[in-house]
Symmetry: none
DNA sequence: CGGCGGTCGTCAGCCAATTGTCATGCGCGC
DNA sequence: GCGCGCATGACAATTGGCTGACGACCGCCG
């Protein structure tokens, strides 16, 4: 998943980044409100983590502007203050969850997991489709009850597709959500990755829609041709 | 055992944590109702200790929500009020035991033991896996009945892994659980530690899942919360 | 105080798994 | 049937993890 972390304290930001990345996410960072607003408004994220005490543009304002522009990704608010009224303001502004500093990194990760799966309509930490199950808590994939050994990159790709069952994801989108941002995009890398996954999960788990991208499950109704 | 302690008074919370940890348990803490609810809902615990007078979301409500979501771990209620009707409400909400503050720590621990025993059928201060036994009461490790001399750091790492059998723990997570918080993280330190433990406990006790982390036992087949 | 033994982080070099790149060939969809 | 987009096998680069050596540090003890 691609996650935007907005946090002005470098040390905290780096810690969050490390934790998120070791769970297989792609992290982009911003250290001030304006950058945050711009990034969140112009790029596609699966989740935003937003500190309230920001230079140049307050966190709540950033959130409000995102929502005003129709950005719908889940937002997890971080704050040092534990104020009831501030919390209400955030919720009204469209925050999805709220975490008071200091917090334990495990709790942070638990909330991230909760938001990510809530956002895509899944209720549990497991995504399943046919006889394939992705357990996001332990980063593991099972097929027919048997564990399948996926490498980290392979896992990321499967994880992303499983969050978007029935929708064809173009290679460029996969690239953006799986690799760090400055990655030199080469479509073939994704193709190779898909081929390797198919060797492990079967040829028909990841399907191709020529010209549109890859998908799992059945294509949604209305994915008609233009 | 992994225990969730929900207590808003920092001092009491820390005391409970110390007592539980020195009995060989792993403790996670929450200081308000919402955090408690999230943690208990998204992670697995063998027991929850729940104070009633919580900020942001009352203890009884937390308990009700857990039960409503199908969480079944035993719950020990702590309260300053000694009301008959309140107790009935808690029991109805799904509490397993009820302790009125102030209490002696010994009594608390006795009730914890009782609940754990009831829940798991057995409870001891020993974790064992194959021919390796970790006796958390005296902080020692035995292999095939013979004591093995582990240094403090080595012991902590083994102890942590034994509490999470079957799950690959990333180096970052190990670092956070083994060292003091602001420790300058260097992945190689963990690798070296693992190498030293392998020399003492055998090469195949701690296994590596490349890109994901270290684990003991067999990798989880992913059972747990549906 | 000074030597000793044990602990533990750092470093550099090595190895192997992972992952990107390339060349080539196939086949889907128009 | 044609051509572009995708698939694939081989290969190379990169990364993650392992190890032996080293030295800083600390507590102990004479």
């Amino acid at each position: 998943m691609r996650i935007l972390v907005v946090e002005d304290e470098r040390k905290v930001g780096e810690e969050l980044r490390r934790a998120l990345e070791s769970a297989g996410h792609v992290v982009e960072q911003a250290r001030d409100g304006e950058t945050a607003w711009f990034l969140g408004d112009t790029e596609d994220f699966d989740l935003a983590v937003l500190d309230l005490g920001l230079p140049r543009l307050d966190g709540v304002q950033v959130l409000k502007r995102w929502r005003a522009n129709g950005r719908t990704m889940p937002v997890l608010i971080l704050t040092a203050r534990d104020g009831w009224s501030e919390k209400v303001e955030c919720i009204d502004a469209g925050a999805d969850d709220y975490l008071v500093k200091p917090f334990r990194i495990e709790e942070f990760m638990a909330r991230v997991r909760a938001l990510l799966r809530r956002a895509t309509g899944h209720v549990s930490a497991k995504l399943s489709l046919g006889d394939v199950v992705v357990d996001t808590r332990i980063s593991r994939v099972l097929m027919g009850g048997m564990p399948v050994d996926l490498s980290p990159m392979e896992y990321r790709l499967v994880h992303y597709l499983m969050h978007h069952v029935g929708r064809a994801a173009p290679q460029i989108e996969l690239t953006e959500h799986i690799y760090a941002q400055d990655f030199e995009r080469n479509a073939n890398a994704i193709e190779v990755l898909v081929a390797r996954i198919r060797r492990k999960l079967g040829d028909d788990f990841i399907k191709t829609r020529r010209g549109y991208g890859y998908y799992v499950g059945e294509l949604d109704e209305g994915e008609g041709k233009p």
